[in-house]
């Protein structure tokens, strides 16, 4: 076998991971709004709202426009915009006397646009209260200014998301751990079936090697997820359904290794652990793919389907994310390959030593 044939996929994996590290860390985020204050206001006043931006150019672009947006139909334009620095800006709003809603209060988001940065949104930025309501008058006030002629942001950039900020890049490092784990466990399932059907005499050892790498990825996924959760959801463990299911998945495969160490007879051990491995993967299916879809989760795409859609993974992110998944999966198979070959050499050495004696 030529060198290229053996090493091409390992090289590919390394290059893809390298690419995901470089592109995932070096591409900047789109400009966004980190915080606005104050967050509560009443109608019929003049409000100065200070806005703190991220990666923004408020001073160098002279054409900042700021809207207070109640819904897609209702919004008002700031009467004056005063940039203090590239990342600080004060927008003055004449809040009309009535809101266009029958309720006593409404949540507004703030939309900011200029020619360098393009549009940025801070959702639920301002909570407005009114004493009495007059929907018709409110309509008249809030319908006047419409959001028009938004600029587009320039360059290849990752989306800016409220609490995530720069940690959106963890999508390329935390999530591929899970994908890699599932692919590795899938691989181990295939080899246990092959072993039990008698198609692969080394299937049981390959199963163990793949499970070893998969378990490493699973534990790393848990660990990195906990770090990420601490700084976005404010606690290491929030009993989120996916966190729990992932912990159970790692437990199942830890049990595989317990079982493997508990049986001494080699033939019996290989057969029994392969059978358990198939069973384990089958019971993993409801844990990873059915129950998370039935329960609310903090993870993106919660409730209905835990898929990646919309703003959580836009097209720019896909260009880094999918290569990262493939790259880490290949690295995982590489680790498993190394482990498997080491074990094979160990067995060969043992038989050689026994023959010599």
């Amino acid at each position: 076998m030529s060198v290229l044939k053996q090493y091409w996929w390992k090289t590919l994996g390394a290059l893809l991971v390298l690419y995901s590290l470089v592109a995932g860390l070096l591409l900047p985020l789109k400009p966004g709004i980190i915080e606005t204050s104050p967050s509560i206001g009443v109608v019929d006043t003049t409000m100065d709202i200070s806005i703190r931006g991220y990666n923004s150019h408020y001073l160098s672009s002279g054409d900042n426009r700021v809207w207070l947006k109640l819904s897609n139909e209702f919004m008002i334009l700031a009467s004056a915009v005063r940039p203090l620095s590239e990342t600080n800006l004060i927008a003055t709003f004449q809040i009309p006397p009535f809101l266009p809603v029958p309720e006593q209060s409404a949540d507004c988001s703030i939309v900011l646009d200029n020619s360098i940065d393009g549009p940025a949104v801070k959702p639920t930025a301002l909570f407005l209260r009114q004493k009495e309501n007059n929907v018709d008058m409110g309509f008249a006030y809030w319908k006047k200014d419409q959001i028009q002629n938004l600029h587009t942001s320039k360059g290849v950039r990752f989306p800016f998301r409220g609490i995530l900020e720069e940690t959106i890049r963890n999508t390329y490092y935390h999530v591929p751990m899970w994908f890699g784990m599932i692919f590795l466990f899938l691989g181990s399932l295939v080899y246990s079936i092959k072993f039990l059907r008698g198609n692969d005499p080394h299937g049981a050892e390959k199963t163990t090697a793949l499970n070893m790498a998969g378990l490493l990825f699973g534990i790393l996924g848990l660990l990195t997820g906990m770090i990420w959760a601490k700084f976005t959801w404010n606690s290491f463990w929030s009993m989120d359904v996916k966190q729990n299911m992932a912990a159970i998945a790692t437990l199942i495969y830890l049990a595989y290794f317990m079982l493997r160490s508990a049986i001494e007879d080699e033939d019996k051990r290989d057969k029994v652990t392969s059978a358990y491995n198939i069973f384990a993967f089958i019971t993993l299916i409801p844990l990873l793919f059915i129950i998370p879809r039935m329960t609310d989760s903090l993870h993106p795409g919660n409730g209905g389907n835990p898929a990646f859609g919309g703003e959580d993974l836009d097209n720019t992110m896909r260009l880094v994310f999918y290569p990262a998944v493939l790259g880490w999966t290949l690295i995982g198979f590489w680790l498993a390959d190394l482990y498997f070959r080491t074990e094979q050499i160990k067995l060969r050495v043992l038989t050689l030593i026994n023959d010599n004696q």
Binding site: L259, T283, P286
Partner: protein, 221 residues
């Protein structure tokens, strides 16, 4: 060789005959249930609906582990060889699962009865609880018939069954628990939870199918 159905029937008859002689399995489990219910009643007094269900569930779960372990422990050495002569692996697995299932149904009825006497019966919709309990016990017995067979291949079967079995039953018990919680609400019927029930049936079939396919490999020595 006899047909598989005939083998299963023979094996189950044999199990009950053994059970009738030693009464080791059933009496052990029953003693465990009565003790647990009494102890918890002393500690907690009378629990609310959710706790009632949780208690019921935990008792059933541990009973299934214990029965599974005990039933395969009895079969060490000679007797195991005897079964091997008597019936094929499919028959042994199914007979074991059915035997476990009947034992667990007895345990479940007894637990529910004892708990209703001591704590009252908070369930609004007994039919839903019945579905959940039946589907869960069938899944548990299919799973533990397999797991205890695996564990019996090693030295200390009882610890190993718990270790390798518990992570696997979590999916099953979460699904069944969701249906069981529905039984606490007034006016909820099986139609409202049909997807969960279908999912649980599918999971049962999956576990059973896997067990039937794989038992062959772990049973042959």
């Amino acid at each position: 060789m006899l047909s598989t159905t005939q083998q299963i029937v023979n094996l189950i008859r044999l199990y009950w005959a053994l059970e009738g002689r030693s009464r080791q399995l059933l009496s052990g489990v029953l003693l465990y249930v009565v003790a647990i219910v009494l102890v918890t009643s002393y500690i907690f007094g009378s629990p609310d609906g959710e706790t009632w269900l949780a208690l019921f569930w935990v008792i059933l779960l541990f009973a299934s582990v214990n029965t599974g372990v005990l039933s395969f422990m009895q079969e060490s050495g000679g007797r195991r060889w005897y079964y091997f002569q008597l019936a094929g692996p499919l028959a042994v697995y199914l007979a074991k699962a059915i035997h476990l299932f009947t034992l667990l149904v007895v345990v479940g009825i007894l637990t529910a009865g004892l708990m209703s006497v001591l704590y009252g019966f908070p369930v609004q919709n007994p039919l839903l609880l019945l579905y959940a309990a039946l589907l869960a016990t069938s899944g548990l017995s299919l799973l533990f018939a397999f797991m205890s067979a695996i564990a019996s291949q090693s030295g200390n079967a009882s610890t190993l069954t718990t270790i390798i079995g518990f992570p696997l039953v979590i999916g099953l018990s979460l699904l069944a628990g969701k249906i069981a919680r529905g039984s606490l609400m007034v006016g909820l019927s099986a139609v409202d939870l049909q997807w969960d029930i279908i999912m649980l049936i599918a999971l049962n079939m999956l576990i059973g199918g896997m067990g039937i396919l794989l038992f062959n490999y772990i049973w042959r020595d």
